[in-house]
């Protein structure tokens, strides 16, 4: 990469993402307007009809795990953006500390979640596998979200877009952690006497492109891009959890609850006023869009 591109990339990344993010916010606003115009918002927020849930009620542990994960991701975004664009005086060392602390918690979460998916008694990794039916029904899911179809196929706990996003989060988190650690240019590991930069990118990327410092510069670019991907995906995730399943959203924050009689798709009378599940019109019922409702993280 020429020197010109290296400096231009630095500027372009900011311009692109600071342009893209408001566009995404506007797009989500337009999407919500679509919900209003098609009557979905009326059915959900006025009639209080929300999707049925396979896993209601949501237990306390997943709620706690999701909540602390949310806090850590929020801290990571806030402290990370502060490190790049310091917006108040004197907080850089503190924010770095916050950033690395939150990263450690998120990594513990990730390891635990992978163990839960593959090693625990539950082994729910199948919930995330994108299978053939997911791919063949993907157009219908997309058409539902752009208001061409009134419903989307309900194939499992998560739809294909959720599965893809959650699967993508795993390598993104790992790469983000590694590139973040690679920015530690001065702290030497005690036994091997190498910096984290040398250990992660210096020994292989450094010789290829000229120096460890340059390799760290590239790591920083990757770290910054993934940071924005997280911000974009999490924003969409929050929007959909509110617009598609606000009942589960409230339940997660202790402001409402999901009736367990509505679990397993068995719709019954509303357990509380205004809490009416959407009856499944056919086999292609509204999906359990319970990302926040049943996802453990």
């Amino acid at each position: 990469m020429s020197t010109l591109i290296l400096t231009q990339v630095n500027v372009w990344l900011d311009v692109v993402f600071f342009t893209l993010y408001p566009i995404v916010l506007v797009a989500l606003g337009v999407h919500f307007l679509g919900n209003v115009l098609t009557g979905r918002a009326y059915r959900r927020f006025v009639k209080w009809q929300w999707p049925e849930h396979d896993h209601a009620p949501i237990k306390a542990l997943p709620k706690f795990l999701h909540f602390q994960h949310l806090v850590c991701i929020g801290l990571l975004v806030l402290s990370g953006l502060y490190i790049r664009f310091p917006f108040f005086t004197g907080g850089r060392p503190f924010m770095r500390g916050v950033h690395y602390f939150a990263m450690t918690v998120v990594m513990v979460n990730l390891i635990w979640r992978l163990w839960f998916a593959y090693g625990s008694r539950v082994r729910d990794y199948r919930e995330f596998v994108v299978n053939r039916r997911d791919i063949t029904t993907m157009p219908q899911v997309l058409m539902y979200y752009v208001f061409i179809k009134p419903s989307k196929p309900h194939l499992g706990k998560y739809n294909v877009m959720q599965k893809s996003t959650y699967i993508l989060f795993v390598p993104m988190l790992i790469v983000q952690a590694l590139t973040g650690l690679a920015l530690l240019e001065f702290w030497k590991l005690p036994v091997i006497n190498m910096t984290m930069s040398d250990l992660i990118v210096g020994w292989w990327l450094g010789p290829l492109i000229g120096s460890t410092s340059l390799a760290v510069a590239y790591a920083r670019i990757v770290h910054y891009v993934i940071n924005w991907l997280f911000i974009l995906l999490v924003t969409i995730h929050v929007y959909l959890s509110v617009s598609e399943d606000f009942a589960a959203f409230l339940d997660f924050f202790g402001l409402g609850f999901l009736d367990k009689r509505h679990a397993q798709g068995k719709a019954g009378p509303a357990a509380s006023p205004g809490h009416t599940p959407i009856p499944a019109p056919n086999a292609l019922a509204d999906d359990v869009h319970g990302a926040t409702g049943s996802d453990l993280l």
Binding site: M1, T3, L4, L6, T7, Q8, N10, V11, W12, D14, V15, V16, T19, R84, F85, P86, F87, F88, T89, G90, G91, R92, P93, E185, F186, S197, G206, I209, G210, S211, T212, S213, L214, A217
Partner: protein, 337 residues
């Protein structure tokens, strides 16, 4: 030769008597009391002599042919006597044109400064250690007086003065040609301050590190504004202790323009500058030419952002939309009177 001895001895005795007389008068509380603030305000000549040089020649007892000194003037001593009798008064001001100019020196600030009492110099540096010409009654302009006070540092800080003399801040007189920018060139005091120069302990160094605007930015405002990349300027301006201050890259006393090959920010020296140590900490490791291209962002990033076509388009669109909304709002307001 010996025939002139009585004349010399007589002259010497006379001079001794005169000097002793003026020294006795200089003892605080013994003879002429120090002028009060009201006296200072009502007697500009005296005030000039004490603070900014002498505008009106006073009675001089110095031998003819030497600089006129007011030897009967209160001698500076330690504590709240001598200079501090007057300059320790917070109300010591002069009216210069439309401005009140303070001549107050805070003893607490002075004592806490690098020139205050320390183990090495228990008495600290006396006022006359820097204000060398304090009692001169010769004609001084304000500029002369300030120059003397602000260049007094060279008497002790010779290495720094030598380096300063080689840099772009030094007056650059050439044979037959006076430096046209001589009046604009900064002296020691312009960057370092006066009575509050911080001690070079951990707190003082931290304070100095934060002081980029005061030291450099006030004059180099364009460079200060453009010091806005993330890792250096933006972080520095928000108080990051590990972000470089101006002098960490540009050097301290031997300041040179980046176009000068001796400057640490000249392209030929960038590797040593970026890969060197700042405050005992190495900034970047194994720097190469490609990595050094990032140095262009340090003062150029804001300009690069402005040159970015997408960014310009968005800013123009923002301005256009904002103006249009403003026009619409004005039109609506005009409809309703």
């Amino acid at each position: 030769m010996y025939r002139r001895l009585p004349l010399v001895v007589t002259g010497g005795l006379l001079l001794t008597l005169l000097t002793a007389g003026s020294a006795a008068a200089a003892q605080p509380g013994m003879a002429k009391p120090a002028p009060s603030t009201s006296q200072m305000l009502s007697q500009p000549a005296t005030a000039d002599r004490t603070a900014t040089g002498s505008a009106a020649p006073a009675k001089s007892l110095a031998p003819a042919g030497t600089a006129p000194y007011a030897l009967d003037f209160t001698m500076p001593t330690l504590g709240k006597s001598g200079c501090m009798v007057c300059h320790g008064d917070p109300n010591l001001i002069r009216i210069k044109g439309d401005e009140y100019v303070s001549y107050y020196v805070s003893e607490a600030v002075l004592n806490a400064s690098a020139h205050g009492p320390s183990k090495k110099t228990p008495s600290g540096v006396l006022c006359t250690g820097c204000h060398l010409d304090f009692a001169s009654t010769g004609k001084h302009s304000d500029a002369d007086w300030k120059r003397t006070a602000r260049m007094a540092c060279r008497a002790c800080h010779t290495l720094e003065d030598d380096a300063y003399g080689k840099g772009a801040h030094a007056v650059n007189n050439r044979p037959g040609q006076t430096d046209p920018n001589a009046d604009k060139k900064p002296l020691c005091g312009d960057c370092h301050g006066a009575h509050d120069i911080a001690r070079l302990d951990a707190n003082g160094l931290a304070a100095l590190h934060r002081n980029g605007w005061q030291v450099c930015g006030r004059c180099h405002q364009k460079e200060w504004q453009s010091y806005a990349d993330y890792y250096h300027g933006a972080a520095y301006k928000k108080g990051a202790p590990d972000a470089p201050a101006c002098w960490d890259c540009h050097g301290a006393h031997e300041i040179l323009p980046s176009s000068d090959r001796r400057s640490p920010t000249n392209g030929t020296n960038l590797a040593a500058t970026c890969g060197g140590e700042t405050a005992g900490k190495k900034c970047h490791t194994n720097v190469n030419d490609e990595f050094l291209s990032y140095a262009g962002l340090i003062h150029r990033r804001a300009a690069m952002l402005r040159e970015n076509w997408l960014y310009s388009f968005i800013r123009n669109a923002q301005t256009g939309i904002s103006d249009a909304l403003s026009n619409i709002a004005d039109a609506v307001r005009s409809w309703f009177g």
